[in-house]
Amino acid sequence: MSGLHTKLKELRPQDVTEIHDWRGDETVIVSREGFAALMKFLKEDPFFDLSVLMDLGVVDGLGLNWKPRFEVVYHMFSMAKNHRLRVKVRVEEKDAVMPTLTGLWAIADWFEREAYDMFGIKFKGHPDLRRILMYEEFVGHPLRKDYPVNKRQPLIGPVN
């Protein structure tokens, strides 16, 4: 199956701002406003049937002077139809908030916690948004491009 991105652009022109399929990876860039409804649609629509949220990553565009600084990247996969779609949402640094997907996929819980931990993206409606890889007392978000690679912080053990 191919052409998911063009099909989605036709169906939802108001949500999809950009599409490309570089090296065969079909990608749509969508606006944040319609994002949560769009993901629900992609999961439940029988044509798209993207039943699995394979991956959630964030790219910090500070080094490339991206204007909305962050891109939140969702990789989706359809078990039944064996096709993939990448959905990207651009968010500003000042307003780095995304709607949560924990209601649609259980794994969104940990993926979103990791995105929060590493990049400081907040997920509105997440039931338990804590750090996951770093410890609670850690200051900053280490995968941001402006976090120095050599920066050391005191290791503080858990309180309890």
Binding site: W22, R23, M54, D55, V59, D60, I107, E114
Partner: protein
């Protein structure tokens, strides 16, 4: 005064119990905080991150080739598969196709790795349930596999054998027969272990109907690999989007029915057999002919050639070909050609060229020096391979320079451990051990 003894008031409160971070049955460092009612787990929280080594941050600091050794340390039980995933992703960025022979070598090495991965997982699970013999048998078999990996790659664990564009060196001349012998021996071991475990009352009782996961929950957690297949969904990256030589070999994808610990054990046992079948078919079909050069009295061992050239005595070695030698000493040029891609911007030159002529030396420097390394075009790719635990994905963003702008790993373990809480709720504390064992948590991959 009348003494009246009031009936003792029953007080009910749950107990909090920490398991880990450093518990012998935890396979790595992970902490499970459980809330117990008697022996039953009523609530749990899984805390990870103890082995976080900033893989993704470090990957952004060096060139594309410098990331390769880090990938070894993701799933350290099957490092060759991680190498393959990363190399395929970089090749996808370049739009690069490796030679047929390299594809077969990659397939063979990945499958050997997968067998060693499953051997470790099943062996460790059995050991934690008291079957120490099975563990020793399986580690013995894993040792043979490690030996053959060492013979080809020069290392046992952190191998970095694959390269974007091919593999480091060709297989050893007697690899075929040796490998077949080892596979035969491994099969014997698996037969023995299966006889010890599969119908063993104690083993079955501890595993059966424990840690049950439904298809829907597994999909909701994005679980892949043996874990997903045990629930009855036959999804395998090797089958659904074949890479390397998987489209040219015949293999079955074993699936379970109930998704409990016992099914996961059975799926892993059968997958090892299928992996060995793949290796055998690859050995039959591998193209490229003899890897040894014809001896016209004109060849010298590669390491001697390199040593001579290092001392500046190039007169004696110039114009001669080197004898094949897959060690770090170098591999000979014609053989190297068989396994490396033609794209010079993406691959290392043969070591003989690096040490004997200026073009080779410049080529080498142009691929490794900071600011000169290999440069894929601008873009982003996601490449998935079937790792030991499921879909291992690499998402690479390239900004057109010699450093990866962003590398994101989709670790199969992460999603599996995320589901641990759900799996153990309602079970007893003793059930954590087989459930946790059968999910095959690998700290390096989980925490990156």
């Amino acid at each position: 005064m009348e003494l009246q003894s009031a009936p003792p008031k029953l007080r009910k409160e749950s107990m909090l119990l920490n398991i880990g971070p450093a518990h012998p049955a935890m396979h790595g460092i992970v902490r499970i905080i459980t809330e117990l009612d008697g022996e039953t787990i009523v609530n749990a929280d899984v805390e990870i991150g103890y082995l976080h080594r900033c893989f993704e941050k470090m990957s952004e600091q060096g060139g594309y080739l410098q990331v390769l050794p880090y990938t070894d340390r993701l799933n350290y039980v099957s490092p060759l598969i991680n190498n393959e995933g990363y190399c395929l992703a970089v090749e996808k960025l370049f739009g690069l196709e490796v030679t047929e022979r390299a594809k077969f070598i990659r397939t063979i090495m990945s499958e050997i790795s997968r067998v060693s991965d499953h051997l470790t997982c099943v062996g460790a699970t059995a050991m934690e349930l008291g079957a120490f013999t099975a563990f020793l048998y399986m580690i013995k078999a894993r040792e043979w596999l490690y030996q053959i990996i060492e013979e080809v790659t020069g290392a046992r664990l952190t191998i970095s054998y694959l390269r974007p564009g091919g593999v480091k060196g060709d297989l050893t001349p007697d690899f075929g027969p040796k490998c077949r012998k080892i596979l035969h021996d491994t099969r014997e071991v698996l037969k023995e272990v299966s006889a010890l475990l599969t119908k063993n009352r104690i083993f079955v009782d501890r595993l059966k109907d424990i840690g049950v996961m439904s298809k829907e929950t597994a999909l909701s957690y994005g679980i892949t690999g043996p874990f997903l297949r045990s629930t009855g969904i036959d999804y395998d990256v090797r089958r659904s989007s074949p890479y390397s030589a998987y489209s040219k070999v015949d293999f079955e994808v074993p699936v379970g029915t109930t998704g409990d610990n016992y099914d996961r054990y059975l799926v892993r046992m059968e997958e090892m057999e299928q992996s060995m079948r793949i290796v055998e078919q690859c050995l039959d079909k591998i193209p490229g002919g003899p890897v040894l050069l014809d001896t016209e009295g004109n060849e010298i061992p590669a390491d001697v050639m390199i040593d001579e050239a290092k001392m500046g005595r190039v007169g004696g070695v110039c114009g001669k070909t080197a004898a094949f030698d897959p060690t770090l000493g170098g591999s000979s040029k014609p053989v190297f050609k068989q396994v490396e891609s033609d794209n010079k911007r993406a691959m290392f030159p043969p070591k003989e060229d690096t040490y004997t002529n200026i073009e080779g030396l410049m080529h080498h420097f142009k691929t490794v020096m900071m600011g000169h390394g290999i440069r894929p075009p601008k873009g982003e790719v996601y490449q998935a391979v079937e790792g030991g635990n499921g879909e291992l994905g690499f998402y690479i963003v390239s900004d057109g320079t010699d450093r990866p702008y962003r590398i994101r790993v989709r670790p199969p373990c992460f999603v599996i451990v995320a589901s641990l809480k759900k799996l153990i709720m309602g079970d007893t504390i003793a059930d954590i051990i087989p459930t946790f064992g059968s999910m095959n948590m690998i700290g390096g991959e989980l925490d990156r």
